[in-house]
Amino acid sequence: MLDDLVTKLADTPWSIALHESLYMYAITESTHVMSIMLFVGTIAMVDLRLLGISYTKVPVSQMLSGILPWTIAGFVLLAVTGAMLFLAIPIRTYHSIWFRLKILMILIAAINIAVFTFKVERDKAAWDLGPVPRKSKICAVISLSAWACVIVFGRLIAYNWFDCDSITSPTMAELTGCPLDPG
């Protein structure tokens, strides 16, 4: 089903236009990288506060209300440019093991954010300026690790080590959804 969808996407005029444009692809990719500074940069600063190792004089509540709106703005920029990059090269990206791992890491980070928002930060008034509880530190470590992986895996999508035409193991064929080449 997803296979059909990416094949259809690849045939749309938008996909072809993005793929063949001299400047649009480069502008989109560069904006995507620049937005990392805004998104991962700000979320990392919040995480370092939640770890209790930096910005300890800034109340946790202020860190969340003052910085997170910028993090969300960064995410929107990344999601839009990311969707455009996917649209430009849908089939290859869909089968990329790095792209799949990147999406997995984003899902882990999203679950972590949900846990933080609905469970961990609810009693933050009690530790707004005091020592941060263990649950906050755990969320911060998961967030920092997951987003770091998202950056690294995202960068590796550009490399063709595991493209469909070079897959020979059944496990990798399974993981990438590529047809197994008997040669």
Binding site: G41, T42, M45, G66, W147, W161
Partner: protein, 154 residues
Amino acid sequence: MSLYHTAQNIEASALGQTIRESTWLFPAIESTHLLALALLGGAILIMSLSILGWGLKTPVAETYKSAHRYFNGAVLVLIITGVLLGISEPVKLYGRQAFWVKMISLAIALIVTYFAFNPLVRRGASGGTVRGVTVLTMVAWLMVAMAGRWIGFS
């Protein structure tokens, strides 16, 4: 010896060859470069947004105490990994406009950060000058990032 010859010599060096010929080395250094870029962005933005009145209410001189450490660490990692990336393909870089745009933006960004932004923030200055310097600092670093990615396309 011309700059182009220097680039050719660096490209032929053992270190340049090692990075170029390895499958994993270039991507690994590149990824570290990107991680440090994210850290640098966070450190500069957490201070800049507060100065512009869109971020934290805590005095910026206080935020600076934590942020400037991450900033310095990120700059150090970016320069080391950046030099390593450059050593592996200096002849290509020599001919790319985006590389020179990046180097000029980088020089401006470093000078503005260390000689104007940091001293002003450290002593908690406020007013139009600080805001102007802040905008210039942010724009310069964003240019560095954007031109950096563009090297791969030009």
